[in-house]
Subunit: 198 residues, 2 copies
């Protein structure tokens, strides 16, 4: 029953995860205390450590939940598209939209987890690797299909895509700035695919 054990979660677990998500809307992870989490969840502090190894593990599992739906959404969006350029464009636009729509998710992913080595052992990071792999595969397909230049590095292109998405969302995530995702993603695609040089 290994596969199913993650599906059902006791109410306390859910409440704790929701509580952290809630609190992360206003505060950064470090200034949220376990007492606070327990209080907003309506459970006792000890219960947190029944379901999570430590406070950071809770964070990773919250991220994992968010990333799961994020990734499903991305996959469903690119399915219809045929060309690789189209697919990558959709990934850029959809990712930015998701980050903008779910700021807590973006905040955790972009600002809160990467500073700790344990994150890279977590289930959440496994999801990120899959997402990242998907992009690389599309790039390679695009090269084989003759849509994308073969003389550039596929890895570098992925870095450019991922970096652009993330950096473009930083202002929004950190300062709560409004972000016109359609317009900005359009601009970014334009630069990445057709180049900035005149």
């Amino acid at each position: 029953m290994q596969t199913e054990e993650k599906k059902y979660s006791p109410p306390g677990r859910i409440k704790i995860m929701n509580a952290l998500s809630e609190l992360m809307r206003e505060k950064d992870f470090h200034s949220i205390t376990t007492a606070e989490i327990a209080a907003t969840a309506g459970v006792t502090e000890g219960l947190i450590y029944k379901y999570f190894k430590d406070k950071r593990d809770l964070l990773y599992q919250v991220l994992n939940g968010h990333f799961q739906t994020f990734h499903d959404h991305i996959v469903s969006k690119i399915q219809a598209r045929k060309s690789s350029i189209e697919k990558l464009s959709v990934i850029i636009r959809t990712s930015m939209k998701s980050y903008a729509a779910n700021r807590v998710f973006a905040k955790i992913l972009l600002l809160e987890v990467r500073n700790s080595p344990n994150y890279f052992e977590s289930d959440a990071y496994d999801m990120v690797k899959i997402y990242s792999r998907t992009i690389l595969d599309i790039i390679n397909q695009g090269m084989e299909a003759g849509e994308i230049r073969r003389d550039i590095s596929a890895h570098a292109l992925r870095q450019v895509i991922l970096g652009s998405i993330e950096h473009a969302c930083l202002g929004e995530v950190i300062f709560g700035k409004e972000l016109d995702t359609d317009q900005v993603s359009e601009h970014i695609c334009n630069i990445i695919f057709t180049g900035a040089k005149k």
Copy 2:
């Protein structure tokens, strides 16, 4: 004497800042204790709070020091270059080189500070704004000079440049992977300036 007051630093202050830099090579900021910092600095814990508002303020000031030399280096490197494309290329290459050469600096800048709102009030962040502004100015000059397309967003181009640099260095910073900065920066410039589409 406001301008000079920063120049002279008592030995204890220097030792503390060096100690944190030292410790950050092996550990992430959160798992470094103030006791540890004081011990490696050879001073007492209380002295930290004589020179720094709190543990994070110490981190910001360490970053500020690193960023100062980083920025000076960048400025000196682009001075000789005439075209904007050249200047931006140099910025990309030099930034990546600096991040790779000084991993602690990169680690602090990319992973450790952005999660806390106070950072954005710090002197270190003021330096980042200047660096960021420099890039935007170069882009605008390039547009006026007819080197860079006018129909793309200057801000978006900056995001792409900064995001690409940072994301390309993440693997190196986090996992200590080797990174051929010359080659990777070359690839990135190629993509950004001439486009990925065939």
